[in-house]
């Protein structure tokens, strides 16, 4: 295990420009290097490198025993990862697309989430489940969904989603290091976004650095992805990605990108909109959100998932409860509708757009 503790602090602080997908690849690579117990398992992740190439080259470098092309069975992937965890392995499972996770839903929610509790803390389940999620790529059914709330509703799971290459790199390393199971939702439409990535960030595998505490977070409001994660633990903490004074946009995953564009447009119209990237749905960093809303007095939550009983409903409830006397308007939500994810030709009418976000912003100012 000594190798597991040598890595991070001895690494050079190299900054590279990477796509979000490549940043995850780099995070997986470093975790595989630093802990021989780390494994990857999924469909087509070996020679092909995954349908999105996120695991490109890893089987070649780490072998078929550590980067495993699994049978085509999602419950089997998660169920065997649980068994491997009981032998001390930290398996990163890849679910090929969001809509394909449901065969594994039982293993995730009734076994993976609960075994630590069932064993009264004797057994740890450090399993990461990577899920490319979200829409906007013109795909067929089951390839564009946002099921994160279904998992966040289950105690025992951590549910996170990065929106930048830096966070993708840092958070995948922290997710692997976490002693708890982590659902890692990757915004597939943003896989090709480029950004600077400081490869020295991220917890060492096997360490306890990523305790994901929601309170006392290290979130800064400087809007810089690199600087804000410099303190180490990003897992479970939100981040102010654009400071503002008039309204708080709370978002995560693929919706961060469109929310930032909306904030830019709003600025041109004279409204200063603060944008918070939650990065984590469970736990929810309520402190960062409420601190912002107490200053701005207005809050709009944006996500691709349906708004009905979605993560935004939880944010709205908590903001209402904790910031009631600061609010100038009710908390509003922008997101998907209570319909099956629509066909590709009309998906942009379903997804949160700059216009729909600005419409909500305008409504928040009518109260």
């Amino acid at each position: 295990m000594s190798a597991a503790h040598e890595g991070t602090f001895g690494e050079e602080a190299t900054v590279k420009t990477l796509t979000l997908g490549k940043a995850i690849n780099e995070g997986l690579r470093r975790s595989l290097e630093h802990d021989p117990k780390v494994m990857l398992m999924g469909e087509d992740i070996g020679a092909l490198g995954g349908v999105f190439r996120v695991t490109d080259g890893l089987q070649k470098d780490f072998g078929e025993d550590r980067v495993v092309d699994s049978p085509l069975a999602e419950s089997g992937i998660v169920g065997t990862a649980i068994g491997l965890a009981l032998r001390g392995y930290r398996t990163v499972c890849e679910i090929q697309f969001d809509g394909f996770i449901f065969p594994a839903y039982d293993q995730i929610t009734t076994q993976l989430a609960k075994l630590h509790n069932r064993s009264k803390g004797r057994l740890n389940l450090p399993v990461v489940i990577r899920v490319p999620f979200g829409g906007g790529i013109g795909a067929v059914e089951h390839h564009s969904e946002s099921p994160e709330a279904l998992f966040a509703h289950t105690a025992g799971l951590r549910v996170v989603s990065p929106s930048t290459p830096q966070d993708a790199y840092t958070m995948i390393r922290e997710a692997i290091a976490s002693p708890d199971p982590v659902l890692f939702f990757e915004p597939k439409a943003r896989y090709w976004d480029k950004g600077e990535v400081d490869l020295s960030l991220g917890a060492p595998v096997g360490g306890a650095a990523s305790d994901g505490a929601a309170s006392g977070s290290t979130v800064s409001d400087d809007g810089s992805a690199v600087a804000s994660s410099a303190a180490g633990s990003t897992l479970g903490t939100a981040r102010v990605v654009r400071p503002g004074t008039d309204l708080t946009l709370v978002t995560y995953g693929p919706a961060v990108h469109v929310s930032l564009k909306a904030a830019e447009t709003a600025a041109a119209e004279g409204r200063s909109v603060e944008v918070i990237d939650l990065r984590s749905i469970s736990p929810l960093d309520t402190a960062t959100v409420t601190a912002s809303v107490r200053r701005t007095g207005r809050c709009v939550v944006v996500h691709e998932a349906p708004t009905f009983l979605g993560s935004g409903a939880e944010v709205a409830a908590r903001v209402t409860e904790e910031c009631f006397y600061s609010l100038e308007a009710p908390v509003l939500r922008v997101g998907g509708f209570h319909t099956p994810y629509p066909v590709a030709k009309i998906e942009h009418d379903y997804l949160p757009s700059v216009d729909r976000i600005l419409d909500a912003v305008d409504r928040a100012f009518t109260y």
């Binding site: 169920g79 065997t80 649980i82 491997l84 994901g212």
Partner: protein
């Protein structure tokens, strides 16, 4: 009669070393299995009898405790003692077991204090024992889910270099115990796929006790269950699960294959759930008295007792000692169970996550404050609540 037209006793595929009358089978076809129990002398046979008697006492005592309201529910393994004790006694200490929820007999062979099993049925624990102390995983209540955990565990053993080394102290197998109903579950089928394609050292030990609550095995399969394993390319065998020697021998062979790197085995232990599914069940609604009577004549404990008597290994004083030990177990169970109090309500917030989670911490703090508010009221009323 049950749906299985051919009585188990005349099934040519059935591995049987003891007839229901307790006579050793000298058929050449089972000679390789007979060789695997040849080393079991009179003392070893008495030990197997002892185990089965104690396991049965555990069943009857636990059922009584449920009837007295001390347990919320209890699933008996009545009638399956031979399948469980025989297979369990073939395990090596380093082997690892993933039980379903009726494997009290296997638990006994792994050295558990059986009283710990009752914690979950008393409603004070979701698990109950230290899995690593006995290499015996917690009971899994969702049917078949644990067969995948067993397979993953086996994949871990392969990576740890604990398979096929030739060192009997080192080579390790993993066993998944499940029932006839579980064979219909997707997870069991996925586990068979994963184990077959990875050659994982897993024994799939299916106790076909003929009933999945009220559903007979014809609701699960149109072929004998052990044929299922063959479809996955896994060596599969049907054994008389009421025959403790055959259960031992078949398991011994399967474990040897797994440990040596020969891959998985599917065992169908053909047995009968003599009791109800659980204390909440009523088998009179779905099965006949005559069927129960048919199986009562195949009682696994009577069968071994007959052999012991026939071979001069029975000793009345020893048998009385076994009964006395069973009485002692009963006393231990009653005392242990009745003394267990409910855990504090705040314990529900323990071990939800291995690392801190803001929501749980906040709710724990709220709950503590809420509870404390009653203490303030109590104090205001002079402490009388």
């Amino acid at each position: 009669m049950n749906q299985q037209d051919a009585p188990a006793d005349v099934d040519p595929d059935l591995v049987q070393l003891l007839t229901p009358e307790g006579v050793r089978v000298s058929d050449e076809a089972v000679a390789p299995y007979a060789a695997r129990v040849a080393h079991l002398d009179a003392a070893a046979l008495r030990e197997l009898y002892h185990d089965m008697v104690l396991v049965r006492r555990f069943d009857t005592e636990s059922t009584s405790l449920q009837r007295q309201g001390e347990l919320g529910l209890f699933p008996q393994c009545l009638g399956q003692e031979a399948a469980q004790v025989g297979s369990g006694r073939a395990l090596a200490p380093q082997d690892y077991v993933f039980p379903s929820y009726r494997e009290h007999g296997v638990a006994f062979t792994r050295g558990l204090d059986l009283a710990e099993i009752l914690l979950q049925f008393r409603g004070v624990d979701h698990g109950g024992w230290d899995t690593e102390k006995h290499n015996f995983h917690l009971y899994t209540l969702v049917i078949g889910s644990h067969t995948l955990h067993a397979t993953g565990y086996g994949m871990g053993l392969q990576r740890d270099g604990l398979v096929g080394t030739g060192d009997p102290e080192r080579d390790t197998a993993v066993v998944a115990y499940f029932g006839d109903g579980a064979t219909s579950q997707g997870d069991v089928n996925e586990a068979l796929v994963f184990a077959a394609t990875t050659n994982a050292p897993v024994v799939f030990f299916c106790q076909n006790n003929q009933w999945a609550i009220s559903e007979p095995t014809t609701r699960q399969s149109r072929v004998p269950l052990f044929h299922r394993g063959r479809g996955f390319g896994i060596p599969s065998v049907r054994v008389d699960g009421n025959d403790v020697l055959a259960s031992y021998a078949v398991m011994d062979e399967a474990l040897e294959r797994a440990r040596s790197g020969g891959g998985p085995t599917f065992v169908e232990a053909y047995t009968y759930r003599m009791g109800a599914h659980t204390t909440s069940d009523d088998p009179t609604r779905y099965r006949s008295r005559s069927e129960e009577e048919h199986w009562r004549r195949r009682d696994p404990i009577d069968r071994l007792a007959a052999l012991l008597r026939a071979e001069g290994a029975w000793d009345d004083a020893w048998a009385a000692d076994v009964e006395a030990e069973a009485d002692g177990l009963g006393e231990h169970l009653r005392t242990y169970v009745r003394a267990i109090e409910a855990p504090p309500a705040s314990s529900m917030f323990d071990h939800v996550y291995a690392s801190e989670h803001g929501t749980v911490s906040a709710e724990r703090a709220w709950h503590a404050e809420y509870e404390a508010s009653f203490d303030v009221d109590a104090a205001a009323q002079g402490g009388a609540r």
